[in-house]
Symmetry: C2
């Protein structure tokens, strides 16, 4: 068995061009363009009974979130579309693509549409291109002494997904956030000029924080008590350590995690008014690692820090209806 992580390691050895940034980032930097590609597969990244328009929205949003984490301004997108049936699903899917592209000013400029056998899991991809700002933070520039800041909430999406796994007709704000995440473009653009490192939380705060720590060669010391949790999340799952670990490992958040020098006070940045930013701990010197605490006590990191890309993710999220 060749695991996903070995395949990615192999690709990294091929991707030697500086624009690739060692494939250690979610986006490439080609001249003044930030370029990213994200794919999603039916039954793995979305539920077969998710409304198709929400899947289209999400595909745009997850790509824009990668641009947000680089502080880039959306410029263009290419859509990779499969048609796996009578085309009705795909027509509604495109409604969601269109709505999200219009909402975030992302022109659709190309792509490819191919037919696949009826009943095959749909695989949908988008290449998003953004104009880079003056600084394009990677994952690897964090310095011991920097502070880790979290923009946006974690846990809402995983909580909504958990509701849907119990009841496919579940409704409410958490389900809505799972289905229609909001890319934090304005926040990313405001933070990027000052960030030594930044990424978006797609796989889970803890695993993404560890990746930042590993790429930057330092320790990420995270106070779980400092995480931003939404009122809706707390209403659903409470505010215990267990709930906070769930929020920190659930993924699909599209919050931003940034390392900022201690002199930077995010409240002085030009952030959107409603944006919640929390300092969740420092980067510390030492071999790359993750240290957790809660109410002043050390907490052992959970066995699973998030979605680990280890090939296990191929298990369907739910049985197909």
């Amino acid at each position: 068995m060749i695991r996903e992580r070995e395949i990615i390691a192999r690709l990294r050895r091929i991707a030697t061009d500086p624009a690739a940034r060692g494939l250690l980032d979610d986006a490439a930097l080609l001249g003044d363009l930030v370029i990213t590609h994200d794919s999603i597969a039916e039954g793995v990244h979305f539920l077969p009974f998710d409304p198709p328009a929400s899947v289209g929205w999400k595909l745009v949003a997850v790509n824009l979130s990668d641009l947000a984490a680089k502080g880039a301004t959306p410029a263009a997108a290419l859509l990779s579309l499969t048609i796996a049936g009578d085309g009705k699903w795909e027509a509604e899917f495109i409604d969601g693509i269109e709505a999200a592209c219009a909402c975030y000013g992302l022109p659709l400029i190309g792509g490819d549409t191919i037919a696949i056998p009826t009943g095959a899991p749909r695989v949908l991809g988008m290449t998003a291109i953004g104009k880079a700002g003056a600084n394009v933070p990677g994952r690897d520039g964090g310095q011991a002494g920097d502070r880790l800041w979290l923009a946006g909430f974690v846990g809402d999406s995983a909580s909504g997904l958990a509701q849907l796994k119990l009841d496919r007709d579940a409704r409410g704000p958490l389900v809505e956030i799972y289905r229609r995440p909001v890319p934090l473009l304005a926040a990313g653009q405001a933070i990027a000029p000052h960030a030594t490192a930044m990424l978006d939380i797609s796989d889970g705060l803890l695993i993404d924080a560890l990746r930042l720590a590993e790429a930057s060669g330092c320790v990420a010391a995270i106070d779980l008590g400092a995480l931003n949790l939404s009122r809706e999340f707390i209403g659903e799952r409470g505010d215990s350590l267990e709930a906070r670990l769930f929020a920190a490992t659930g993924g699909d958040d599209y919050a931003l995690l940034a390392a900022l020098p201690p002199r930077i006070d995010p409240s002085t940045l030009n952030l959107p008014e409603a944006m919640t930013m929390a300092c969740i701990g420092p980067l510390q010197p030492g071999p790359a690692a993750l240290k957790l605490s809660y109410r002043g006590e050390a907490v052992a990191p959970p066995e699973t820090l998030g979605h680990e890309h280890d090939g296990q993710s191929a298990a369907p999220m739910v049985d197909r209806p």
Copy 2:
């Protein structure tokens, strides 16, 4: 049933940005970059028993062929990879990606790797980015009076595929061309500055010529007797009208079809030495149409002009082993 062509028509209505060129081209033009995305699916665009490295090669080649048709110089690529099993197939597939990228100087700078359920048809995509030359021919600039020139052979690939359908262990130059097409980058770069329209023959010469005629608003009058056929093709299928219609509708050729003003003599261009170019007929005034002839006699266009993107293509090419 919503057919593939309706889905594409819908996407065209969304893609209003000038960079999209109305999605009437195989590539977008963003600033001085030509950007294309092609996807291929197992059982539809390649055979489940095709050597994985040849599939990787082909994915790179079909994308580079789109750049060739715009006269662009390869600059960067992003790979969209699914893993649908133990990863061995994908590791060999990447060998082919690496070989083709090295051969054509295409740096791999990013992409996405996702796991899909074991046994699901693989869907593989690539976004290729090229530097535009001074002229980036679309499909729509052809003028009545221009001549249509075909660079490269048609029919070899379809002939190789036909051999494989009869015998999955078939070998030889035609099978090799089906599996490892050669993008005509140097020819494209030499022709593009003079071409009023150009595209690559991916779906079949006749259907692609009709698309050029439709986009340009004129008649494509093609002399089937003038098509370039390789010695290997003639050895396999002969040189009858039937063989020529097979070659003109088979697709997967990655030859280039260019409209050139009559004053341009391609033999004076800086073409690669071995490149075969043939004038296959004029563009004529009149409502968009395709007119065929052979040895001075009119020939009725065949019912199927090539691969029509009508949703019928989802039928597996062969039964899965």
